[in-house]
Symmetry: C2
Subunit: 453 residues, 2 copies
């Protein structure tokens, strides 16, 4: 039943060369990560969308409030529990109670299955886990039955002085599975003596993709130097426009100029490495998520004179958040396909450990399009076909690259961990940004190719 | 092909009750372990032989230099690698090189497969791993080809001032997979600035089973108090005789008296809990291993007037070590059977994590006999039948006990970790014992029922 991931020729040649390089350098890579994690505290958890073009393998998005835990295979759970134990130990080693705050939408069965899975992993570490809801609809304990018969109890949050919990439950730690797109709720501000992870400034009320990729630039440069490769092989170019209003058609000039600049840089790299693909860039909300507010652009002309439908699509993202800041990111084609669709791997991490992943596949989208869109499906590949069930840390170094999927997934685990490391750096740099939330410029100016508009 | 473990009725009733208790208390148990590991440093690795009688589940032996890594299923390896990363981080976080010192016998393919597997796990953490041999036969780098075509390179140890390595290789850490039954080699003494794990005093030149089980008494008492159970359910009685000479027939009186005392204590417990079994004790070398020097005893008369063959069997264990110290341990019958044989689970741990296990089964031995004997076989059960491949940390708490093998294995993982914790306490207490090696009395007097002879 399980589909084997495949790679479109002739793009399979470069990917194998890249995997070989990773495999040969495994001890150096692992040691490098070990040293990096001495200087940086990994986020509690994260998931990374990767795109594998054969000639390059790069993260295109990094989620600090990962949903979709229900998409991972049962087999990866033991490693997830082990990693969660480590993460909890760091938070509060004598913790007994943990409060999990999910997204507000209480009727999405798919999302609620994710919450149930996550709670199961956390409970297996020995914590009492209760669910505190930010939803106005949850005014009393609200049981919800899931499709598989399991049930969840959503409870209203209770604030007492500097602490947050639910009725009769005072947690040591609060784990957010809510990305705070709608802003930081008052009830979560100025909490004392309780650990909130990820920190409030990791939420989309404050976070910017451009801050992440700016931190990633540094991580990729260090990694490239260590491995002796052009960091571009694991890093997409990007730029940013800070004052765009799609509905008012303002900021178009900034968009045009930056799209042009990124495409120009890409063309130079494509020439350097003899890549015949047509370059494209992805324009997306700098604070967006859920695959909303994203478009594929092949020319600066594509971003001017957008029609009403296009402008509406770009103007608003999740929870009605207005888009005024935009990131222009080098598009990385994906030449993998799974189960009849174009596919991109999504890798899940807890603390510094890769704990699983799956493919996001889409039968109606092209190799240069966002796959996080209605019609996508998830392929939690079976154990015999992929060690995504947990073996991202155990390649078969002696096997030829490509002969074993564990070797490909080792490479995926490496690049995903680069993004996790970049998130750690990003969160360090943006700490303290909650007070100044909705700041209009990134904390550290990204290496914009053209002055941001 | 894979055998499902089965439990002989009527012994399946009590085992289910016991599992239910463990499952219900999982958060409390996990939290208790978390607190314990704040006070004690887990051994680098360990394996524990368990016996499950239904009415009790207890460790009967704890190996600090586990072989048999090759018996674990491939599926458990990712968790093993993750746990090894954690353990290495503690040893020397910037480690690049690790020296693995295996047992001397270089021709045992079975053992060498274990070494290869162990090296593979360690390499996956990002270490360069080389094998340094204590064997006199290894005077130059000696390649050895394994049955599966893989090859190992054994190299002679090189000592330079206070450091040990192999030619051109100066490791940060030295991992012993040699239990030092033959004594502590001069080349490993007084090492400076290198970490040796497990420590030298964990080797059988110094270690005593009675010290371990004395520490285990304390751990089991604390655990029993936390869980509200009689610690006897997870702890076998034991006693010790310190001056036995089987060949000279001396020390028989001590043996008789202690066998009688342990049997008397057992009868009282059997009466208390209505257990109809015939009590038996296991007499074994206090410093022995490899299943050598072990006998099953049902009456004090069984240990007097041994014939020459019996005496010879008890007198000498691995590497010609003479037996003068003996532990008399409550026998725990095993009512599990697997693949047509009486079976006992063996659980493997790295640091504080259960990383896998298998059944040791024997078709020609009884429920009250040592199974670590010629004719035994190993059953690395298949994933669908057992989560020994790594799921010892993820029971299905809502399922009825016994309905899922993961629930049984959760209980096994708990008791195995009690033994790992006891080993931590034991090693703390016996630290510094290397100088005084071959001391004739245990470091802390065990709760001998009768004064040791």
């Amino acid at each position: 039943m399980a589909a084997v991931p495949q790679f479109r020729p002739p793009h399979d040649g470069p990917v194998l060369e890249f995997e070989r390089r990773m495999l040969d350098a495994m001890p150096a890579i692992e040691r490098w990560f070990r040293m990096q994690w001495q200087d940086h505290v990994p986020p509690f958890y994260g998931s990374v969308d990767l795109r594998n073009a054969g000639f390059k393998l790069a993260p295109v998005d990094m989620n600090l409030f990962p949903g979709g835990w229900n998409n991972l295979s049962e087999e990866m759970l033991p490693c997830a529990v082990q990693a969660a134990q480590i993460a909890i130990d760091k938070l509060c080693p004598d913790a007994r109670n943990l409060l999990l705050i999910p997204e507000r939408h209480t009727r999405n069965q798919y999302y609620l299955s994710n919450v149930a899975r996550l709670a199961r992993i956390l409970r297996a570490t020995g914590l009492e886990v209760r669910l505190g809801s930010l939803s106005d609809e949850v005014t009393a304990p609200t049981p919800i039955t899931l499709a598989d018969g399991e049930s969840l109890l959503l409870e209203p949050l209770v604030r007492r002085h500097g602490r947050v919990g639910v009725d009769g439950f005072d947690p040591c730690a609060i784990l957010l599975n809510n990305d705070l797109s709608a802003g930081i709720p008052a009830i979560l501000r100025d909490i004392e003596d309780q650990v909130v992870v990820p920190p409030l400034h990791a939420g989309w009320a404050v976070r910017r993709k451009s801050n992440h990729f700016y931190a990633y630039d540094g991580v990729a440069a260090d990694f490239g130097a260590m491995l002796g490769i052009d960091p571009w092989f694991v890093n997409p170019f990007f730029s940013r426009c800070g004052q765009v209003n799609f509905q008012e058609k303002s900021g178009e000039e900034c968009l045009r100029a930056n799209v042009d600049a990124v495409l120009t840089e890409m063309r130079a790299k494509y020439r350097e490495y003899g890549i015949a693909d047509e370059p494209f860039v992805i324009v997306k909300a700098d604070a967006g998520t859920y695959g909303m507010g994203i478009m594929t652009v092949k020319s600066p002309d594509d971003v001017t004179g957008l029609n009403r439908k296009q402008r509406n699509k770009m103007a608003v993202v999740k929870d009605g958040l207005q888009v005024h800041e935009v990131i222009i990111q080098e598009g990385v084609p994906t030449y993998e396909w799974v189960d009849g669709g174009v596919a991109e791997p999504v890798v899940y991490m807890i603390d510094r450990y890769v704990v699983g992943g799956f493919y996001r596949a889409h039968r109606e989208r092209g190799i240069n399009e966002n796959l996080n869109a209605p019609g996508m499906h998830f392929v939690p590949l079976a154990r015999e076909n992929t060690p995504f069930s947990g073996s991202c840390n155990l390649p078969d170094c002696k096997a030829a690259p490509g002969s074993s999927s564990s070797n490909r997934f080792y490479a995926y685990g490496v690049v995903a961990r680069l993004a996790q490391l970049a998130a750690a750096v990003e969160l360090e740099r943006t700490a303290g940004a909650v007070a100044a939330e909705r700041f209009s410029e990134p904390v550290s100016a990204p290496a914009a190719l053209v002055a941001a508009g």
